[in-house]
């Protein structure tokens, strides 16, 4: 499974590099090719404006990974900070912060992200903002639980009685012990952010034309499904292979780092 996951990821990295080398233009319109199936010229066929689907898929994957990485890093920093504060201090701070996360968790799945994206308006920046506003909660929950149990470990109490300050306790003595759990969580959230981004773009709330994004491509592809079934199948398979590879990579990391959620 490990090699399967690596080879798909490697394939995508390679594909993007090759796309650069061959200077595939994702926005080149060729009206003679509209909705044509795969051919020697266009390996993945052409879309409703005669643009090369392969080129658009490759430019879409860059966008998708860029958004996923940005959102994952931001949500992780915010979520971990909130979680560590709540778990370390406990009491009032903890209950207020956890009450807030409870409210965010009351909105199922990507509903809240849809709502935020809807009122903020479409565009890359707003898309990232909407995903960040909703994504930090799971990190906060996870980190809080970890911090609470790690806080009472002997080495932390020893450091505390030796006069270590709160930042030192948190960053030198607590954070490193939950790093592996956070890494695994980040790997999975990379995949879920990608799906969320594609969902929002599919609904027309994400990345806007002419920029390529897998969600927006699927939205177009569904519209032309009857005349050009290759479009929806190819874009969908690409998306699925990448999500699958990231999830399997996450599974591998989890087993390798021996992460079990409940034991810190």
């Amino acid at each position: 499974m490990k090699w399967f996951s690596y080879s798909i990821l490697g394939f995508w990295v390679l594909a993007v590099i090759i796309g650069y080398l061959f200077r595939l233009d994702p926005n080149l319109i060729d009206l003679n090719m509209v909705l044509q199936g795969p051919s020697v010229q266009h390996w993945f066929g052409a879309d409703d404006l005669g643009r090369d689907i392969l080129a658009r898929v490759l430019s879409g994957v860059k966008m998708s990974v860029l958004v996923a990485l940005t959102v994952t890093v931001i949500t992780m920093v915010v979520g971990v900070s909130v979680g560590m504060l709540a778990g370390f201090y406990g009491g009032k701070i903890d209950s207020v912060l956890m009450q807030i996360t409870d409210i965010f968790l009351a909105f199922p799945g990507i509903l809240l992200a849809i709502a935020f994206a809807a009122v903020l308006g479409p565009g890359l920046g707003n898309l990232i903002l909407a995903l960040c506003l909703t994504g930090w909660v799971s990190y906060a929950r996870l980190t809080r639980g970890q911090t609470m149990s790690l806080r009472n470990r002997q080495h932390v109490q020893a450091a505390e009685s030796l006069g270590a300050g709160v930042p030192r306790l948190l960053f030198r003595h607590i954070l490193p012990l939950m790093a592996s759990i956070l890494v695994v969580e980040a790997a999975y959230s990379l995949a879920s952010v990608m799906i969320a981004e594609a969902s929002l773009s599919f609904l027309g709330l994400g990345i806007q034309a002419p920029n390529a994004s897998w969600g927006a491509m699927l939205r177009d592809a569904v519209r032309f499904m009857l005349v050009a079934p290759h479009y929806v199948l190819i874009v969908g398979l690409c998306l699925m292979s990448l999500i699958l590879a990231i999830n399997l990579g996450g599974d591998y990391l989890r087993d390798r780092l021996d992460v079990r959620r409940d034991i810190p």
């Binding site: 199922p108 509903l111 849809i114 609904l203 079934p229 199948l233």
Partner: protein, 304 residues
């Protein structure tokens, strides 16, 4: 004691959900009235809408009015059609509920038996096949699985209607789209859960008593193994409701999810607000019932 604690958190969360959905409209960059009506609207129209939505009042007072109206079942009116939002939701919500329940049925009736089968054949090719397929399925989001099912069963085979909700069979494809994703998760959960239980002492005892394998699995192991599934199903109801937004859009299913998407496209924010609120509230209520059901179902938790 548990009940009081659970209900307190239930009501705080509901209050928070109300507050957050109320604030949504204030997140609109710039003037929400201008965004909703477009730049060509006359200033009289704008003032009228501003008064109707109460946007010229202090924030706290607006929130009070919002709560007061909601308590009377008044969700306001759609900006474009002037239709009562409460009525819109009344006509759309049952369709979503129907879809979600059928999807849940599909998820349960496909997922749990497959999970049991997979656990009983653990390590053999049948188990590997089921696991591989369910892992792949769970990596297929609705906006990809939906079109594939539509392409195969409606376009190529012509067995089922492509979209809309004219015939009774129209519900099958959207429900399958939602249900398959759920069943994939349930298969994996049931398998893990059953395998864990099968190693327990009381299963060995049951076998040693000479009970038939059938009774051991169905009466002894499964009862304990299915407990965690209750929680999973409750949590997954959330993804069903959220997934309905996309699935309904693909299959032109006139539920609340499609209403939400339509309202976003028309910038009809009061409708958007109401849809988000209703879906979130449904989820909170489902979660409350899941928790209570779990307590009832598990005698070990009941004592504590």
């Amino acid at each position: 004691m548990f009940l009081i604690k659970r209900l307190t958190s239930f009501f705080t969360v509901i209050f928070g959900v109300l507050l957050l959905t109320f604030l949504l409209i204030h997140l609109v960059p710039g003037d929400p009235v201008e965004v909703m009506l477009g730049e060509s609207a006359s200033s009289a129209d704008r003032d009228a809408l501003r008064t109707e939505l109460g946007l010229n009042q202090p924030l706290l007072q607006q929130f009070g009015t919002y709560l007061n109206k909601l308590a009377h079942g008044d969700f306001g009116r759609s900006i474009h059609t002037k239709a009562s939002i409460a009525e819109l939701i009344n006509t759309r919500y049952p369709a979503t509920l129907k879809l979600a329940l059928l999807a849940l049925m599909i998820g349960l009736f496909v997922g749990i038996p497959l999970g049991i089968y997979s656990a009983l054949k653990a390590g053999r090719w049948q188990d590997i096949l089921v696991t591989v397929v369910s892992v792949r399925l769970s990596a297929m989001p609705a906006f990809w699985l939906g079109p594939v099912l539509m392409l195969i069963f409606a376009v190529w085979l012509g067995w089922l209607p492509v979209s809309g909700m004219e015939s009774g069979a129209s519900i099958i494809l959207p429900a399958a789209t939602l249900g398959f994703g759920l069943s994939a998760i349930l298969t994996r959960m049931t398998r893990t859960s059953l395998l864990e239980v099968l190693n327990d002492d009381y299963i060995r005892t049951a076998r040693a008593k000479g009970l038939s394998e059938r009774v051991v699995i169905l009466r002894h192991a499964l009862r304990a193994a299915l407990l965690p599934i209750i929680t999973i199903v409750g949590l997954q109801m959330g993804s069903l409701l959220a997934g309905a937004v996309i699935t309904e859009t693909i299959f032109s299913w006139d539920g609340i999810g499609r209403l939400l998407v339509e309202s976003i496209e028309k910038r009809d924010y009061p409708v958007t607000q109401a849809c988000v609120l209703i879906v979130a509230l449904s989820y909170v209520v489902v979660n409350l019932f899941t928790d209570l059901l779990y307590k009832l179902a598990d005698p070990r938790v009941r004592v504590a």
